[in-house]
Symmetry: C2
Amino acid sequence: MRNAYLHQLHAVHGDLVDLVRLVHGALDRSTVALLEGDLAIAEAVIDADRAVDLLRERIEERSIELLSLQNPVAADLRMLVASLQMVGELERMGDLAVHVAKIARMRAPDPTLPTEAVPLFARMAAICQHMVARLEDVLVDVFENPTPDIARELESVDDEMDRLRGDTFRILLADSWQRDVEPAVDVALLGRYYERIADHAVSVARRIVFLTTGEQPVRG
Amino acid sequence: MRNAYLHQLHAVHGDLVDLVRLVHGALDRSTVALLEGDLAIAEAVIDADRAVDLLRERIEERSIELLSLQNPVAADLRMLVASLQMVGELERMGDLAVHVAKIARMRAPDPTLPTEAVPLFARMAAICQHMVARLEDVLVDVFENPTPDIARELESVDDEMDRLRGDTFRILLADSWQRDVEPAVDVALLGRYYERIADHAVSVARRIVFLTTGEQPVRG
């Protein structure tokens, strides 16, 4: 009985790590689709989202089952509560990668972004990818090597993201912007999507701190 | 002991209802701020968001405490799991109302929206307000009068929302759009914000169905 319980708890943790990896992959590929106008890669991101949704459902079901049948306490309880809270954030990060891919698909094989916006979005995407890679590292190892500073670490990376989002508006509203409305709408929405991916990464990091320490980190 | 537990469970339910009411108020006021270019009302929405955040934190803390100390089962457990899942969605709805208010504040006392987009946004806002009002009704009464159809009901309202979001792009990309980039960016982002408010309302409705029936509703 106890062994079956530990096995299931372990499975939830493994599924969470897999979910972060799926999201990481979606983010990598949607960024390639966007920056290189690659239709096939955009389609691959969109198709792969079903796996993210299914994994989220499985984690939720298992977590609720363990909560209801096993009366977990202390670290086990926190693991299940945190997983219920994290899966929603992770699924949304996957959805946002899909939104990026859908914009890329609409414009491919032409590049979606005006030339002057490319370095900005390459940087925004790199920050998001770094954040998700950190979540992956920390989550894999969360019991053996807890990292209570992960929320503060990602919050400080997120500050750069907020500045970059401001830069997207500066590009859009500059006198030098001589383009149509369509690329402006793309840039505005893409800026929003990457900003949200980073916000969700910070929220997941906060859940990991709760899981590790039992404390809700103070908002930075 | 048992009485104290029931009292706390009751308090979580009461706080959830209050949270929905706060979000409803934020949505009503941000829409007035947007449609009437009312700076004071926009400021009021932005200031009131702190109360939403605090209430969310309190509900989370209480729910986790009850889960850890009381080993709740069946309907009580579902109530706490659903509340953990719903508060994040409700807080985001409040944040999105703040985003609407911030755009209104930036343009006030001028109207934010080009004339041709006003009826569309009035309708999008009305749908969101209707959805939140339904959540409020159903949640107040969730134990006495369960409403297992609420998810399907809001999903069908959400279909209209998706069509209206499409209409925002049609307005933006029409040949008749002779405006600057700035109002185009506003319209694109505002369309996104209202669409997301409606999406979150559907998610909350799905959590209410789980709370009521113990089943995760099939996605419509």
